[in-house]
Amino acid sequence: MESESKLLIKNIYKIFGDRPEAALKLVTDGINKQTLLEQHNHVLALNNINLEVSTGKFQVVMGLSGSGKSTLIRHVNRLIEPTAGSIFFHDDDVTNLDEKQLRYFRRFRTSMVFQNFALLPHRTVLENISYGLVIQKQVKKILMDRSLEWLNRVGLDGYNDYYPTQLSGGMQQRVGLARALATDAEILLMDEPFSALDPLIREEMQDVLINLQNELKKTIIFITHDLDEALRIGDKVAILKDGEIIQNGSPEEIILNPANEYVTDFTKNINRGRILTIGAIIEDAVLENAIKIDKKITLEAALRTINEEGSQFANVVDNSRVIGSVSQKTIINAITSGTEVN
C-alpha cells in the first residue's frame, strides 16, 4: 500500500520531555495532553497523526499556536525525530534512513521555506538562492544557470548582489522560495512562510506560490494559522488541534461539512463567497436562454457575472457541457451561510 506515489505520515507521536518512551505508554493508555503535562511534565506535541498527501498536491495544515504544526512539518525531513510512527515517501521509509541517506533525502527530495526566512546573512541574494545547489555539490555552470533562472522567476532580477538585510520582508521570502525551488526537490515544506508579511504582500506571495504550483506540481505541505489563507491555497486542509488532526478535507468540505464545533467556530467568519465554487451549490434543472458560468469559479465571481448580465439565473458548465443551474438567490444564501448543499 506504500507503493502508491505519495507522502504518507503514519501513526506519528511526538512527546517532548526526559522520558518520551515511558510517556508514550501513558498516552496510548489514554491519558490526555493536559494531565500528561501537569502530572508527568511531558508535552504531547503530536498525538497519532495520520496524513496522506498525493504527489503534486497542495496540503495545508492549519492550527492555532502550540497545536504542533511546526513539530509536524519537521518530521517530514526529520529535523525532529518521532517518538513513534513512520513516514513514507514513495517506497522509502524516511524514518529508517541512516545519516547519509537522510542527508541525501534532504538535499535532493525535500526543501523548506521558513517563517522568519532563515536566509544566510553573509551571502548575497544570488548566493542564497544557490545555497541548496552548493550543498548538492552541483557544478558551477548548473549552479549559476539555475540560480539566475529562479532569481528571475520570483521577480528579483537585478537584486543579485544585494544582501538579505537590504531587502523588505516580502522580497526576502521570495529569496527563500527561490532557494527552496532551485534544488528541484519533489517535496516542498513551508512553515508559516507568509505569516511574517503584511496582508497585501501576503496575498501577493500566495499568488506567486499558486502560479508556480500550477506549473511545478510539487508535493507541498504548507503550515498556517490563518484559515483564510489555508482555504484559499490548499487542495486539502488539515485542521490540527492539540496535536491531533480533527479534520482533513478540501476547502469546500471544511466549510460545508465541518467535523465538529471547533471547526464550525473557525469557519463562521470565513468569506465563503471567495472560497466556495459554484459546483458545490448546483441544482439539477437546466434552464433555457440562460447565461453560462463555469463550475469552478467562486460564488463571488459567479454573482458578479450574473449581476453584470442583468440576469437572475445561470447554467453551470463543466468542460463546456451544461450540468445544471444556479440562481442568484441560492448563491446569496450560500454566501451568507444558509447552507443549502446538494
Binding site: 525531513n77 521558513f114 532563515a118 544566510l120 546573512p121 541548496g132 511574517a196 503584511d198
Partner: protein, 296 residues
C-alpha cells in the same frame, strides 16, 4: 591554646620533601624529554627567526609601505593608514626600529599559533557542552595564574630563549580567541542553522559555510584581544630571552632610565593602538551585512 594561635601546618620537613620531590621529578622529566621537545619546537624557532630577519633586513621604506597597504586593506580608512605610517616613522626616528621589528615578529608568530590552535579548540568547545566545561577552567587558570609561575617550568624544559618566550606569550594570549570562537559559533542564529540542516548540509558544510563565517566578527574580536595580550606579554617574555621592545624596558627598570623606559613603553602602546584599530576595523567590515535581519 597552642592549636588556635598557630595554624596547624604540616611542618617544615614535610613541606620541603614535597617541594623537593616535585622539583626533582620535573627536572628528571626535563632531562629526559627536553631535547626532543626542543627538536619539536625547532620549526617554530626557524619561522620566528626567519620573520625577524625578514623584517629587520628589508629596506625600512618597504616595511612602512607594506604596513600602510595592510592597514588600508583591513580598514579602508585613510586615517588608520596615515596613523600607521606616522607611528612607524616616529619609532624609526627614535632609534627603536630593530626592537620594534623583533617585537612584531614575535607577536605575528604568536598570533598565528594562537589562531591555528585556538580556533579548532573553540570549534570543539562549541560542539559539546562537556568539552566546554572541561576547557573553560583551564582557560581561567591560564588567564589568572601569574605569568612568572608558568615561566618556571617552561624555562626548566627549554631553557632561556625565543621558543620558551614564544610559548609563554601563547599561553597568556590564546584564551580570548578560544573563548570568542566558542561564543561566536554558539551565537549563530539557530534558524539559519536549521535551514542548513534542512538543505542537507554535512557537518563540514555547516561549519565552514555557515558557522565560522557567521562567527567571524566574534572570532576577529578574539584575534584582536589575542594580539593585545601578546603585546602585553612582550616585557615579561624579554626576561627569558625574547628580543624586542621589552629588553630596553627591562633595562630601564633595573637602571632607573626614565626616558628609555618611557620611549620604548610608548612604542609598545603605539603598536597596540595600530594593531587594535586595524583588526577592529576589519572585524567591523566583516559585520556589515550580518546584523540580524528584523523580519518585516
Amino acid at each position: 591554646m597552642d592549636f588556635l594561635d598557630k595554624f596547624p601546618s604540616m611542618g617544615q620537613g614535610g613541606l620541603r620533601d614535597i617541594k623537593k620531590s616535585i622539583d626533582l621529578g620535573f627536572r628528571d622529566f626535563s632531562r629526559a624529554y627536553g631535547d626532543s621537545l626542543e627538536a619539536f619546537f625547532e620549526p617554530l624557532l626557524n619561522l620566528l627567526v626567519w620573520i625577524e630577519k625578514l623584517l629587520v633586513y628589508s629596506p625600512w621604506p618597504l616595511i612602512v609601505i607594506i604596513f600602510g597597504v595592510f592597514a588600508w586593506l583591513a580598514s579602508r580608512r585613510l586615517i588608520v593608514v596615515f596613523l600607521t605610517i606616522l607611528t612607524f616613522l616616529v619609532i624609526g626616528f627614535f632609534g627603536m626600529w630593530e626592537d620594534t621589528m623583533a617585537t612584531i615578529a614575535i607577536i605575528f608568530v604568536a598570533t598565528i599559533i594562537c589562531v591555528f590552535l585556538g580556533i579548532p579548540i573553540g570549534v570543539l568547545m562549541s560542539n559539546s557542552t562537556r568539552v566546554q566545561s572541561l576547557i573553560n577552567p583551564v582557560l581561567d587558570i591560564m588567564q589568572t595564574i601569574p605569568s612568572f609561575v608558568y615561566l618556571i617550568p617552561v624555562v626548566m624544559l627549554l631553557g632561556i630563549g625565543k621558543v620558551p618566550g614564544l610559548i609563554a606569550v601563547c599561553i597568556y594570549a590564546i584564551p580570548p580567541i578560544i573563548r570568542l570562537t566558542n561564543l561566536g559559533i554558539r551565537l549563530v542564529d539557530k534558524e539559519v542553522l536549521e535551514a542548513a540542516d534542512a538543505f542537507g548540509a554535512s557537518f563540514r558544510q555547516k561549519l565552514f559555510g555557515v558557522q565560522i563565517p557567521l562567527a567571524l566578527p566574534n572570532i576577529f574580536a578574539g584575534i584582536n584581544q589575542t594580539i593585545m595580550m601578546a603585546l602585553a606579554m612582550v616585557v615579561i617574555a624579554s626576561m627569558i630571552g625574547v628580543k624586542g621592545l621589552g629588553v630596553p624596558v627591562l633595562r630601564a627598570v633595573s637602571n632607573q632610565y626614565l626616558a628609555l623606559g618611557l620611549m620604548n613603553g610608548l612604542a609598545i602602546v603605539a603598536l597596540a593602538i595600530i594593531f587594535d584599530r586595524i583588526s577592529q576595523n576589519f572585524g567591523k567590515r566583516l559585520q556589515k551585512h550580518m546584523d540580524r535581519q528584523n523580519g518585516i
